[in-house]
Symmetry: C2
Subunit: 336 residues, 2 copies
């Protein structure tokens, strides 16, 4: 059996750290690992699979030694500069940034949804935005059966999606509330503690945020429906990890609610928790540390023909980033 060589770029960030844990769990046939970061973090020693590694500074010749895969989680600027260089050396790049997602030559992949798009890559495969990944896993199941006509997203997104500084802003807000320790915000425009901020990523000319435009455009691309009517309101909430989403969908076809729920239950990567009376529904704290997408509060929307509401939660650092990227790698290894 062939063994592979894999590099993690951005190995010390929030996603990179989780990717190392997911890699240990996945037990892929990989014989060599390397870990890269910016010059700031280079030299950091990390423990991985019982061995010590030193994090290296990412440079143009970093991949000259020969790698099969490089998973980039180091932000858009690093990806823009280094992904094409890396790909030009025959390395498959799985890129967590938004830099290449809407590039028509770059597949945007969620393995449960559009694995066949992987084969269309020219060296770079984009990992979608966290809030999109978890939504399209159940939506694809429903689209295959009932043909989606329109989607309305409202999100409840955790601070881990904003990286270490986002997490610190919430921690510091809690610390001020509890212990009176004054602090300054380092990531958000307003205190995230005790607030919901409808303001993720930058403001676009459309009046939407970039996060909202990502959800709209990436949903269309991944589902292969370039003109699908989709709208989104993306909101940061004072939760450390795992995004929650209120999703409203309208279908072309009629559905039987029990059959629809059964279809979700029988789908890969989905866990249905759907008993409101027993207070069973997806929760951020319960999905944290897991790779699946949790779906619940599944009910008919009586305000429109063939309408549905549901609640969808997933670990945004796992399924929304590290896990999904490594599932792409796994798929390529298994289907080589």
């Amino acid at each position: 059996m062939k063994e592979y060589k894999l590099a993690l770029v951005g190995a010390t960030g929030v996603v990179g750290r989780e990717a190392r844990i997911v890699l240990e769990e996945m037990k892929l046939p990989i014989s060599k690992y390397a870990f890269f970061a910016s010059s700031k973090s280079a030299g950091t020693k990390i423990e991985f699979m019982g061995k010590e590694y030193e994090v290296q500074e990412l440079k143009e010749d970093s991949f000259d030694e020969g790698f099969d895969f490089a998973v980039f989680s180091a932000g858009g600027e690093t990806s823009k500069k280094f992904s094409p260089i890396t790909a030009s050396k025959g390395v498959i790049v799985v890129d967590n940034s938004s830099a290449f997602r809407m590039d028509k030559d770059v597949p945007l992949v969620v393995p449960e949804v559009n694995p066949d798009d992987i084969a269309k890559n020219h060296g770079i495969i984009a990992n979608p935005n966290c809030s999109t990944i978890q939504a399209v896993v159940p939506l694809k199941v429903l689209d295959d059966r009932y043909k989606i006509k329109r989607i309305i997203y409202s999100t409840y997104q955790a601070v881990s999606g904003a990286g270490k500084k986002g997490i610190e802003d919430l921690e510091n807000g809690i610390d001020e509330y509890s212990n009176g320790v004054k602090y300054e915000l380092h990531k958000f425009a307003h205190p995230i503690f005790n607030n919901c901020l409808p303001d993720i990523d930058i403001a676009m000319e459309s009046g939407y945020t970039k996060e909202e435009e990502k959800m709209i455009n990436e949903t269309r691309k991944i589902l292969g429906k370039p003109n699908l009517p989709v709208t989104a309101t993306c909101v940061r909430v004072p939760v450390f990890n795992s995004h929650s989403e209120s999703i409203n969908v309208e279908f072309e076809k009629e559905f039987d609610l029990d059959e629809l729920i059964e279809a979700l239950k029988n789908s890969e990567g989905i866990i249905v928790e759907n008993n409101l009376e027993k207070h069973e529904y997806p929760l951020a704290t319960n999905s944290t540390g897991h790779n699946e997408v949790y779906v619940g509060r599944i009910r008919r929307d009586f305000s429109v023909k063939n309408g549905l509401n549901f609640w969808c939660v997933a670990d945004n650092i796992r399924k929304g980033a590290a896990t999904n990227a490594l599932q792409i790698v796994k798929y390529m290894i298994e289907n080589n």
Copy 2:
């Protein structure tokens, strides 16, 4: 000028306490106040307008002395029992519970929206659900102009809406996180700290929560559109006070976005904060302590003809409860 007599029932609860503050600010022509609560809280001394009052136990003969208004914020069971008795003695009851809201003989009133319904009362006027009140204030302005066709609500509701025990569950969760102090939940089915719970009030047969059904049914009644297509997902978030809402609306008529925003700006009880680039949008912490409904993130929903998304925040204990009830009293005094 006539002077009135007003009683607050449930004077020591979260809403009752805020109602006392709002009353001090409003300076209504009221010559006599009385404060009632359950036997548990009876005897409590409270400071009000520079005087000390003793909270009395609510009894069947409490209103025999003659009052003009009684504002009830003591829960559904107390209202069911005492509101009809009180009204039978010629006292106008403004009831904060859900007990009479959908009763066809009881007007359900938001003074900016349907003040004329007040005159139809038979002694009881219902104060709507907090999440509904703040939504219908801007929606009425838009319905008058563009005729609403469908509404989709996703809410981000504060724990103060669940009363003292709800607030304590969040406080205790924070304290455990910060200082390791173990606690037991007293209100919510799951920890609200670090979670979003799509589970407000009880589960209904429809698959919706009672809170969601309230939003749907009360919106229709207040707007005077009994068949309006409305759907809702109501979610508790780890915020102490003020509800936020992501509202998606579809109109019959076309609209000009600038004119629509201008109409909201010029409407009573609404403050527009709508500059995403400058990070200006409604926030829970900023609206707390204020009586207005804050509206922002106002943008066209491109996924449907004549669609709109906006973000709406208000102090759920003020405009969502105490303020709205007392605005009804004020309206009746001024239009007597």
